[in-house]
């Protein structure tokens, strides 16, 4: 029942104009599983499959949508502890369990076909394979619903994490560097967004003044917002916000990158439900509307992206999003960019010029009042740093802020538009949401 994704859904070029489906697609539900540090490899009630079913059921329940009404499933089929880790992310071959846990799918991986079988979806007509991460999936689903490829579409982002240190072993234990790794690994760069972004971050500090530890107030604010996010890892595990002193004395990973600059891998699943604005009127939840989506995958011009490239890339992301939504920086109330490493967030803040923050101004902005109750409630979700690496907090918080259901995290400023993302400076995607259709 899976189908190809060969319709043109990406908005990944400059100058595409206002999105043709602006305000005509709505998000009507979301659901989160518990967020665990790791899966123990034994308990099927906490496997990625069980958690994904739970997340989907919550998203559908929120909107009052039944299994039979869902006709689209967009599910990322790679677990994020893997990817660039290659064989480093494989766990030992194992005996499987009874159906539906009789293969890797349902245990550490999820795809649309497994979900269709496990949950009994009968009317799915759009279930692409090879689906990208949540940063792009949200745009893919928006475009699919807008184009009429499907009407009621679940977006599912499972994030797996198993025992052992992240991406140790495998090709990182190899004596040889093959393919793209021949240009980085001989000198010690094994790849990842920590390496990609720490050099431009250092150049940022040199160019504009300031030092790495000026990130402390931002990181701590993420922790605080995480403690106001009732489904997240930090709240449920009592991870109290650190102090500036804790931050400044924490250990380095890639000096000056500290342990607290890195998000915490988790085992969890999240689901979102998209439909047309028209159908959303009959659903029991309050819709929020998609005003634009965009994707980007910029090519490195040489070995290591530098500050110039990163600033150009984030400028282009901002231009695409503002143009497609017909909005400007002053129109954006909620801003949830990405913080998988804290060192990349300032590039988005300044590129999008949220609350007037220009290039070189981010550290001064962080040092001011960025609390959710203040005048500049930056990154109200708490992001990955405040909730674990679910990569979904940015989306859920944006929906809740626009609905006015963010609880203790609800901002006191206007909350009618929201920008949210899972993205790095070089690749990923953005979503603009609105409380109103226009």
């Amino acid at each position: 029942m899976t189908s190809s994704n060969n319709f043109q859904w990406r908005r990944d070029r400059d100058g595409l104009g206002v999105w043709e489906h602006r305000g005509k697609v709505a998000v009507v539900g979301y659901g989160h599983s518990p967020v665990d540090r790791r899966w123990d490899g034994v308990n099927l009630d906490t496997s990625l499959g069980a958690y994904t079913i739970m997340a989907c059921e919550k998203a559908m329940e929120q909107a009052g949508v039944t299994i039979d009404q869902v006709d689209g499933i967009v599910c990322c089929d790679s677990h994020i502890a893997g990817g660039s880790g290659g064989s480093a992310s494989n766990w030992a071959p194992r005996p499987y369990f009874d159906p539906p846990y009789d293969s890797e799918y349902g245990i550490t991986l999820i795809n649309a076909q497994w979900l269709i079988n496990a949950m009994g979806f009968k009317n799915v007509r759009f279930a692409p394979t090879g689906v990208p991460t949540i940063g792009e999936m949200m745009g893919m689903a928006s475009q699919a619903v807008g184009d009429g490829v499907c009407n009621t579409c679940l977006v599912i982002y499972p994030t797996g994490n198993l025992e052992g240190r992240y991406r140790r072993g495998g090709e990182n234990a190899d004596d040889f560097a093959r393919g793209a790794r021949q240009w980085t690994v001989p000198w010690g760069n094994h790849g990842g967004n920590d390496f990609i972004n720490i050099f431009p971050h250092n150049q940022y500090c040199l160019k504009y003044g300031g030092e790495h530890d000026d990130l402390a107030p931002f990181v701590i604010n993420q922790h605080k917002n995480g403690m106001l996010t009732l489904w997240g890892f930090n709240y449920n595990h009592g991870i109290e916000p650190i102090s500036v002193e804790d931050y400044k004395t924490s250990r380095y990973i890639l000096n000056p990158l500290r342990i607290w600059d890195c998000d915490r891998p988790v085992n969890a699943s999240a689901a979102y439900l998209f439909t047309t604005a028209e159908r959303a009127q009959d659903m029991k939840s309050q819709p929020v509307y998609v005003l634009n989506h965009s994707q980007h995958n910029f090519r490195f011009r040489t070995t290591q992206p530098d500050l110039d490239e990163v600033e150009m890339w984030t400028d282009r992301q901002a231009a695409r999003m503002y143009e497609g939504a017909g909005l400007g920086p002053a129109d954006v109330d909620i801003f949830n960019p990405y913080d998988g490493y804290s060192i990349m967030t300032q590039f988005f803040l300044e590129g999008f010029q949220w609350h007037g923050v220009k290039r070189g101004d981010a550290f001064a902005f962080y040092a001011g009042d960025i609390s959710v109750k203040g005048p500049h409630p930056f990154f109200s979700s708490g992001g990955n740093l405040g909730n674990g690496r679910t990569r979904s907090a940015m989306y859920t918080d944006s929906i809740e802020q626009l609905r006015g259901t963010a609880g203790d995290r609800q901002v006191t400023v206007r909350a009618e538009t929201a920008l949210c993302a899972f993205t790095t400076p070089s690749s990923g995607g953005w979503l603009m949401l609105g409380k109103y259709q226009s």
């Binding site: 480093a88 991406r167 140790r168 072993g169 990182n172 234990a173 190899d174 004596d175 040889f176 560097a177 093959r178 393919g179 793209a180 790794r181 021949q182 240009w183 980085t184 690994v185 001989p186 000198w187 010690g188 760069n189 094994h190 720490i198 050099f199 250092n202 150049q203 040199l206 250990r251 380095y252 990973i253 890639l254 000096n255 000056p256 990158l257 090519r299 011009r301 040489t302 070995t303 290591q304 530098d306």
Partner: protein, 136 residues
């Protein structure tokens, strides 16, 4: 400890052959007159594959910035931790950059902004890699 050993492929073989002869050759697009590193199948500016040729460059650069790897994931380099990983720009075209461990420079003491010059380091019998050392 030894560094991880690069494995040349069809595209990179001429590059590593030159390194093993202690020369640094980069792709250059004849049409654009633009240097390109790492090697790619086509020119990243004009998209042409035909105009790409190997061009020896002068081994002079500058340290743009650096980090110190304290907790990396490469088994082979763990005994070296902490060690410098510098970003070196090529003087001939500063949009081309390279990584370097800055041999001879103690960890945390890399001179940002300093001039560096090309050197080579044997990582396996007969296999060199290009490295950079602070210019005297």
């Amino acid at each position: 400890m030894p560094k991880v050993i690069p494995v040349p492929d069809e595209l990179s073989q001429p590059f590593w052959d030159a390194v093993n002869e202690r020369r640094l050759v980069l792709q250059n697009c004849a049409a654009c007159d633009k240097l390109q590193y790492p090697p790619q199948a086509a020119c990243q500016v004009c998209g042409s594959a035909d105009g790409l040729e190997w061009k020896e460059v002068e081994g002079k650069g500058h340290v743009a910035t650096y980090i110190v790897i304290e907790d990396g994931r490469l088994n082979r380099r763990m005994p070296d931790q902490p060690y410098n990983l510098a970003l070196v720009t090529l003087d001939q075209d500063p949009t081309v950059n390279f990584y370097s461990n800055l041999p001879g420079v103690p960890a945390y003491q890399a001179p940002v902004g300093a001039a560096v010059e090309l050197t080579f380091e044997e990582v396996a019998p007969g296999q060199l890699i290009h490295e950079w050392r602070v210019a005297q």
